[in-house]
C-alpha cells in the first residue's frame, strides 16, 4: 500500500508538471498579447514594450517557464495582471465557496441518485423504472446554464423561495448545488441501477433470500454494500467533472468560487490567474482520484494494491 501510494504521488507530480507545461504552451500560442491587454487602447507602443519587459514577457518561452515553475515551487503563484493582487490571495478567497458548492453538489447527487437507482433496480421493468431512467437521462443531458436560469426564474423569482443568486447563507447554496448535482444524479441513478441488477443475480443474494431474510435487510446488508463500490470512484471523479461544471454554475448564480474566477481570467487573458486555477484544479482532481483509490480496499477487502 505504501509503495503504491508513493508511486501514485510520484505520478501526480509528473501529471502536474505536464499540466502546467501544456497550459503554458497553450497560452503562449494564443495570439493575444497580455501586455497589450494591460496597456489598453491609448497606450503607445513604447508603453506596451515597457510593460512587456516589466512582466518578463519578452524573454524566450523556456526561460519564462522555468521562472514560473521555480516561483511555483517557492509557493509564489504570481500576481494577477488585471487585478494586481497575488494569485494565491485570489485563489484562497475562492476555494472555500467552491468547496462548499462541490460538497453540497455531491450531497444532492447522492440524495437524488442513489434512492432513485435502487428503487428502479428493485422494480426493474416497471413504470417507476422507466420514469427514473427517463428523468436520469434528462438530468444528465440538460445544459446547466438553462437549468440554473430556469430554477432561478421559477423558484427564486416567481415563488420567492430562494435568494436570486449570490453567496452567504444556506439558502444561497441550494439552487446552485442542485443545478450542479442534477446531471450527476442522473449518472448515479443509472450506475447504481445497473450494479444493483448485477448484484441481484449473485448467489449470495439468493442465499440470503433463501434463508428468509426480509428484503430490506437483503438490500442494505448484502446488495448495497457491493453495489456502492463503483459509486466511490465516481465521487472521486466528480471533483474533476465539477471543476468544469462550476464554471457555468458559479457564473449563473454569482457564486464567488474558482469557476467564476477562471471564466473572468480567461476573457482577459490573465495568464497568472489562468495558470493558478488550472494548477489548483489539477491538484484537486488528482487528490480526488487518489482518495477514491485509497477508499477501495477499505470498502472491499478483496481489492489490494501491491
Amino acid at each position: 500500500m505504501t509503495r503504491y501510494l508513493a508511486g501514485r504521488l510520484l505520478q501526480s507530480v509528473f501529471v502536474l508538471v505536464g499540466v502546467t507545461l501544456l497550459t503554458f504552451l497553450l497560452l503562449y500560442v494564443l495570439p493575444a498579447d497580455p501586455a497589450q491587454m494591460i496597456a489598453g487602447r491609448s497606450a503607445t507602443p513604447e508603453t506596451v514594450q515597457r510593460i512587456r519587459s516589466e512582466l518578463g514577457l519578452d524573454q524566450p518561452l523556456p526561460v519564462q517557464y522555468v521562472r514560473y515553475v521555480s516561483r511555483l515551487l517557492h509557493g509564489d503563484l504570481g500576481r494577477s495582471y488585471a487585478q494586481k493582487v497575488e494569485v494565491a490571495e485570489l485563489l484562497a478567497s475562492r476555494l472555500g465557496p467552491t468547496a462548499i458548492l462541490m460538497l453540497s453538489g455531491i450531497g444532492f447527487e447522492l440524495l437524488m441518485g442513489l434512492p432513485a437507482g435502487v428503487a428502479a433496480a428493485l422494480r426493474q421493468g416497471s413504470r417507476l423504472d422507466r420514469l427514473v431512467m427517463v428523468l436520469a437521462f434528462a438530468g444528465a443531458s440538460a445544459p446547466q446554464f438553462a437549468v440554473g436560469l430556469l430554477l432561478l426564474y421559477t423558484l427564486a423569482f416567481r415563488a420567492g423561495l430562494f435568494p436570486l443568486g449570490g453567496y452567504g447563507s444556506w439558502a444561497h447554496v441550494v439552487l446552485p448545488a442542485f443545478t450542479l448535482g442534477i446531471a450527476g444524479a442522473g449518472w448515479y441513478a443509472r450506475v447504481i441501477r445497473s450494479s444493483m441488477i448485477d448484484v441481484l443475480g449473485q448467489e449470495y443474494v439468493r442465499t440470503a433470500r433463501a434463508k428468509g431474510l426480509p428484503t430490506r435487510r437483503v438490500v442494505h446488508k448484502h446488495m448495497l454494500r457491493n453495489a456502492l463500490i463503483p459509486v466511490v470512484s465516481m465521487v472521486g471523479l466528480d471533483i474533476g467533472t465539477f471543476m468544469g461544471g462550476v464554471v457555468v454554475v458559479e457564473s449563473v448564480f454569482g457564486w464567488p468560487g474558482i469557476g467564476q474566477l477562471a471564466w473572468q481570467a480567461i476573457q482577459i487573458v490573465d495568464i497568472p490567474v489562468i495558470l493558478g486555477v488550472v494548477t489548483t484544479s489539477a491538484l484537486a482532481i488528482l487528490l480526488g482520484n487518489l482518495l477514491a483509490d485509497i477508499c477501495y480496499p477499505l470498502l472491499d477487502p478483496r481489492i489490494r494494491y501491491s
Binding site: A43, K84, Q260
Partner: protein, 536 residues
C-alpha cells in the same frame, strides 16, 4: 425499511429547513449596483476599463472635472488656472483645505508625485502616454532624470506644468483618472496592493472589499464639495449574471444594472410601460465603424473606399441591435465639439457604389476579408455588412475571432476590413483630437497602434497640430471649426465606414434618482455615483 425512508425524508426536511427565504433589500440611503465581473483595480494610475472608470472617479479627484451629466470641463481640485500666452504653461491654483481620506491636506507636491508615478515605467500605467507632452517626461521615463522638469511646485498651493508644445486637450488630460491625485505615504504603505486599498480625496472612501463578492463605498464626511455625495453608501455586487441582475432589480433588491439591460430582454423591457419608465437613455462618445486598410489593394483606390461607404444599409444594422443606436454619417459622435450637423455623409446607394467600383476597374467586384469580434451582436452585424458588400460584388470572407486576436491582427495592419464592435473607440475625454491622434493619425499608424486603417495624411497631421495650439480661452469655437474641416477631409478620403453611434440605456430602480443625465453620464461612465440619490 420504513425507518430508512423516514431518515431519508428527515435529511431532505433538514435541507429544506435551512432554507430561510433571505431577501436582502437595500437599506435606507444605500444604493446597490450589480456587475458581472469583479472590480479589477481601483488604482487611478492602472484602472482602465469602463467598469472601474467611474468608481475610481468617486474615490479620487483631479485638477479638472466635468459638470455632472455633461461634457463641460470645469475646475475641480484646482480653484482656477491660467494659460501662458504661448499656450505652453499652465498654472493651477489649488483649493485649500482639501483632505485625503487619511485626513492629510492635499498639496501641490502630491500632484507632482501622482503624475510622476503614472509616468514611472515601474507603475505599468496604461495612461503614461497622455502625459508624454510634458517637458522632461521623456527623459524621466527613460531613466535619464530623477524628476519631470516640466512639473513644478511653485508653492504648496500652486502647480505649474510646462508642455513641449501647446495642446488644447491638455486640460482634459488633467481630468482623466490617470492624473487623479494620490497620497504618497498610502501608496508606499500599500505597495502593489494600492489598487485594493485605495485612498483618495473623493466623495466616497472604501469601506469593504470582499474579493469576488462586493465592494462597498461609504460617504467621505470631509468631502470638499458640500452636499456630496448624495447617498451614504454604494454597494457594488459583483459576479451577478446580467439576466439575474434584471430579475433582482424587478424584485427591488438592486438599484442600478451596471452591465446594462441584457440584450435578450431588451425589447420586452422597452415595450412594458412598467419597466420602460425605469430606463434612461443618453448619448455617449462612441462611434462604431468599419476600418478599411488603405495601404492594401484594392483599397488604395479612394473610389473603392467610397463605394464601400455607399454599400452599407446602416438603418438595417441599427435595427439588428434593437435601435440602441443612431446611424452614423461621420466619424465624430454628436456630443463632440466639431461634430458637423450639416454634413450628410455618403448616401446608401448600392447602384452608385457599383458604378464607382466599375470606374475603379472592379466591375466584377473582388474578394476580401472582414474581421469582427465574436461576441453578440457583433457576428450578426458583421454578417449584415457582409451581405451588403456582396450586393455590390465584394465577396468578404468573415473572420469572427476573440477580441484580443482581432486587435492583434488589426494592430499589425493585416486586416483589410475590421468591424469595430466590441472594440470600438469610446473617447477617453470629450475632445475631437481624441478621435484623431490615437486612431487616424500618422503617428498611430504603427505596429500595435490603433490606426487599423493605416490612414496617414501629413497635411491633416499638420492641421491637427495647429488646431491643438488654439488653447486660449475664447478659441474653442475656432478650434472646433478646424477639427470639423479635418474630419470632413477624412470622410472624403474614406478610410472608415462609420456605422452607428451607440446610445446608453441605464436601468435603475425607482428608489433612486438625481440630476438630469447622471445615469447616462458621458464621462462618468456609466453612472455619476456621487450624484445618485435615494429618493424614497
Amino acid at each position: 425499511m420504513e425507518r430508512r425512508w423516514i431518515l431519508y425524508v428527515v435529511i431532505w426536511l433538514v435541507v429544506a429547513g435551512l432554507v430561510v427565504p433571505a431577501v436582502p433589500a437595500p437599506t435606507r440611503n444605500q444604493v446597490v449596483v450589480t456587475f458581472k465581473d469583479d472590480v479589477s483595480t481601483l488604482d487611478p494610475a492602472i484602472g482602465y476599463d469602463w467598469q472601474n472608470w467611474s468608481i475610481i472617479k468617486s474615490i479620487f479627484d483631479g485638477l479638472m472635472d466635468y459638470a455632472p451629466g455633461t461634457t463641460k470641463l470645469v475646475p475641480h481640485l484646482a480653484e482656477s488656472y491660467q494659460v501662458s500666452a504661448d499656450g505652453r504653461t499652465y498654472t493651477f491654483r489649488l483649493r485649500r483645505g482639501v483632505k485625503f481620506h487619511n485626513r492629510r491636506e492635499v498639496r501641490a507636491q502630491d500632484f507632482k508625485y501622482s503624475l510622476e508615478r503614472v509616468l514611472n515605467p515601474k507603475t505599468q500605467s496604461p495612461g503614461a502616454g497622455f502625459f508624454m507632452g510634458i517637458v522632461g517626461a521623456e527623459e524621466f521615463v527613460k531613466g535619464q532624470a530623477k524628476e519631470v522638469r516640466g512639473i513644478q511646485v511653485v508653492d504648496p498651493y500652486t502647480l505649474r506644468i510646462s508642455l513641449k508644445q501647446p495642446n488644447a486637450a491638455f486640460l482634459h488630460t488633467m481630468a482623466i483618472n490617470f492624473s487623479h491625485v494620490v497620497p504618497r505615504e498610502e501608496v508606499e504603505r500599500a505597495g502593489a496592493d494600492f489598487g485594493h486599498k485605495p485612498v483618495g480625496t473623493g466623495a466616497f472612501r472604501l469601506k469593504e472589499w470582499v474579493l469576488g463578492q462586493r465592494v462597498v463605498l461609504e460617504r467621505n464626511p470631509d468631502y470638499f464639495l458640500k452636499g456630496l455625495p448624495r447617498t451614504d453608501e454604494i454597494v457594488f455586487l459583483v459576479g451577478v449574471e446580467p439576466n439575474v441582475a434584471l430579475l433582482r432589480l424587478q424584485r427591488g433588491e438592486v438599484d442600478i444594472l451596471g452591465d446594462g439591460i441584457p440584450p435578450a430582454r431588451f425589447v420586452q423591457i422597452m415595450n412594458d410601460p412598467r419597466w420602460r419608465r425605469l430606463v434612461e437613455v443618453g448619448d455617449q462618445l462612441h462611434t462604431g465603424y468599419v476600418t478599411i486598410q488603405v495601404q492594401m489593394q484594392p483599397f488604395t483606390d479612394v473610389r473603392v473606399r467610397r463605394a464601400l461607404n455607399m454599400a452599407i444599409d446602416k438603418q438595417r444594422i441599427v435595427r439588428i441591435i434593437n435601435n440602441r443606436a443612431v446611424p452614423a454619417v461621420q466619424i465624430l459622435p454628436p456630443l463632440m465639439a466639431g461634430y458637423d450637423a450639416t454634413y450628410s455623409g455618403y448616401p446608401y446607394d448600392p447602384r452608385a457604389a457599383k458604378r464607382l467600383l466599375a470606374e475603379a476597374g472592379y466591375a466584377n467586384g473582388f474578394a476580401t476579408t472582414l474581421y469582427a469580434n465574436n461576441t453578440d451582436p457583433n457576428p450578426r452585424i458583421a454578417q449584415a455588412i457582409q451581405q451588403d458588400l456582396a450586393a455590390i460584388g465584394v465577396r468578404a470572407e468573415l473572420k469572427t475571432l476573440a477580441q484580443s486576436t482581432v486587435i492583434e491582427t488589426a494592430g499589425r495592419g493585416q486586416a483589410p476590413l475590421v468591424w469595430s464592435g466590441g472594440m470600438a473607440w469610446i473617447a477617453d475625454y470629450p475632445d475631437p483630437n481624441n478621435f484623431y491622434w490615437p486612431i487616424l493619425s500618422c503617428t498611430s499608424a504603427t505596429p500595435g497602434g490603433w490606426n487599423w486603417a493605416r490612414y496617414c495624411n501629413r497635411e491633416l497631421e499638420r492641421q491637427a497640430t495647429q488646431a491643438d495650439a488654439l488653447v486660449q480661452p475664447g478659441q474653442e469655437r475656432l478650434r472646433a471649426e478646424r477639427y470639423r474641416q479635418i474630419f470632413r477631409r477624412i470622410m472624403q478620403d474614406a478610410p472608415w465606414i462609420p456605422i452607428f453611434h451607440e446610445r446608453r440605456y441605464t436601468m435603475h430602480s425607482d428608489r433612486v434618482g438625481g440630476k438630469k443625465g447622471i445615469f447616462t453620464d458621458p464621462v462618468h461612465i456609466p453612472v455619476h455615483y456621487d450624484e445618485v440619490q435615494v429618493i424614497r
